[in-house]
Symmetry: C2
Subunit: 296 residues, 2 copies
């Protein structure tokens, strides 16, 4: 399950709580498109804003609507105790894998991050994917990636964007891979550099775009699987207006929430507070880009 397109949907919320129906609509788009895996409660899935019961509920709904697509559930928390509780919940809900970002409040030391992954892999009975998200969590060295990836149970590393030039991206992915055991895949996130990452040897795209526009994203991973490097690059270049929106709004979450609302899949305001939706003008711009690019 750690190859191809891993689609990361939003978790839409309303003032009354989780928007289950909206979430199911997102899942149905992903299963229809035939994604290779589903990743719920990622960063754009608002894991950090939800309670333990809410996260259990999302995992349960996802499993019951994932059809035969493998399900990965993010179990990130500042507290190791809480990570283990969330892992128990996710496994009880039927998760096929766990995604762990080393969320930090106090800046963590390498031995503390290693200890966190060691504790989770010893506790869990399903595979674990390392979530490397330096902006919100912790800065990994490749050496630390190597030590963690050698733990039994680690099966993939989700990295942030790669350098823009194909040569630099290739060097970056090869340097990381040289530290990882065989069988541990490298997955690209940071949608704007997904094509560059796939062409540089990443085996999977952990994709926010694929959480809402899974057909559009799957064309890219399918082309990558066929080794059609130029087509991968072209398909991503065509989506530049979407990547520009992500950059303009300081990340993907508010843009994807606006897009889900504009498509009528969720309420227009589907973000957990304190996050707030984009302005009406910005939402109109997002809707126009969806139409123009025929995102689906």
């Amino acid at each position: 399950m750690f190859t191809g397109l891993s689609a990361f949907p939003l978790t839409p919320v309303t003032p009354a709580g989780l928007d289950e129906r909206g979430f199911i609509r997102l899942l149905e788009r992903i299963t229809s498109a035939g994604a290779d895996s589903i990743g719920v409660l990622g960063s754009t899935g608002s894991y950090a804003y939800l309670t333990r019961p809410q996260r259990r509920q999302i995992a349960t709904i996802a499993k019951s609507h994932a059809e035969n697509i493998p399900l990965m559930v993010c179990v990130g928390s500042v507290s190791t105790d809480e990570v283990l509780c969330l892992a128990d919940d996710a496994q009880a809900a039927g998760a096929n894998a766990l995604l762990l970002p080393p969320v930090s409040y106090q800046k963590l030391r390498d031995d503390e991050v290693f200890g966190l992954f060691e504790t989770l892999t010893q506790h869990a009975s399903v595979p674990v994917c390392v979530y490397d998200n330096p902006g919100t969590t912790f800065e990994f060295s490749d050496e630390l990636h190597g030590r963690i990836a050698a733990l039994a149970g680690i099966r993939s590393v989700k990295i942030p964007g790669v350098p823009p030039s194909p040569e630099d991206a290739l060097a970056r992915v090869q340097r990381l891979k040289s530290k990882l055991p065989a069988g541990v895949t490298v997955g690209i996130s940071g949608d704007a550099s997904a094509a560059t990452g796939l062409n540089a040897g990443c085996e999977v795209w952990y994709s926010v775009c694929g959480g809402l526009f899974p057909q559009t994203a799957k064309e890219i991973t399918d082309a990558a699987a066929r080794g059609e490097r130029e087509r991968v690059a072209q398909l991503s270049e065509r989506l530049q207006p979407l990547w520009d929106l992500f950059r303009k709004h300081g990340g993907s979450i508010r843009v994807m929430a606006a897009a889900a609302g504009a498509l009528g899949l969720t309420d227009v305001d589907c973000l957990p507070r304190p996050l707030r939706p984009l302005s009406a003008d910005d939402i109109a711009e997002v809707a126009a880009v969806i139409t123009r690019l025929e995102l689906r």
Copy 2:
């Protein structure tokens, strides 16, 4: 309560959960020293690592051992819903004030942070202190501080360190104060620059040092209250080896945990996982500094 010494104790934990007896020992030192207020569950109080029931329990214990010293409880959480629940719990436990850091996962926009403080102040019945901690949460502009401080219920702003030169520190504190309504105090944190901040006009020291060494910290705030600027600076300079330890270990929490353990007030390992205690050599160095400086 938003003047003088506000002492911020650790929240010691063991593998079995909260170390209530250790926590009470820390509170007893603070009440004996006559701190002006107690701030529990601050950053060094590990609020980010504890569950809602644990935070309620800490607030309750603190209130029952605070004697007549006002109690402030930190209600920080990534989620606004959770902040309100924590505020209810803290008020039910008898908190005299709430401390709110705008903890972020997705980078927050100014209107989102303002909305968070607006929501809390409308919900709460006790005063609120703004917790400005750019490293772990959000970067405030002075303009935003001014807008938030104008909300009914805001009574103090806890700022991080000030510039090292007395002139720059004075300018920095005066610039902030020019944006704040009368009656909203400015409190310094970042213990190493506390003396500079107090001499620059900060009315309160939100003090990690005061959470474990309240007599030592109170000498400084007492001197500041008497306007003895040189003595304030001298007393802080004498503590330079302690500030050096904070810098060496990337912050105060692991050092204070080592110190509490070395004094026999808590277990040697009293940090919540994934945080881990300092090495035996580093703990011995901390113990030597405590003895040499006669910290108390």
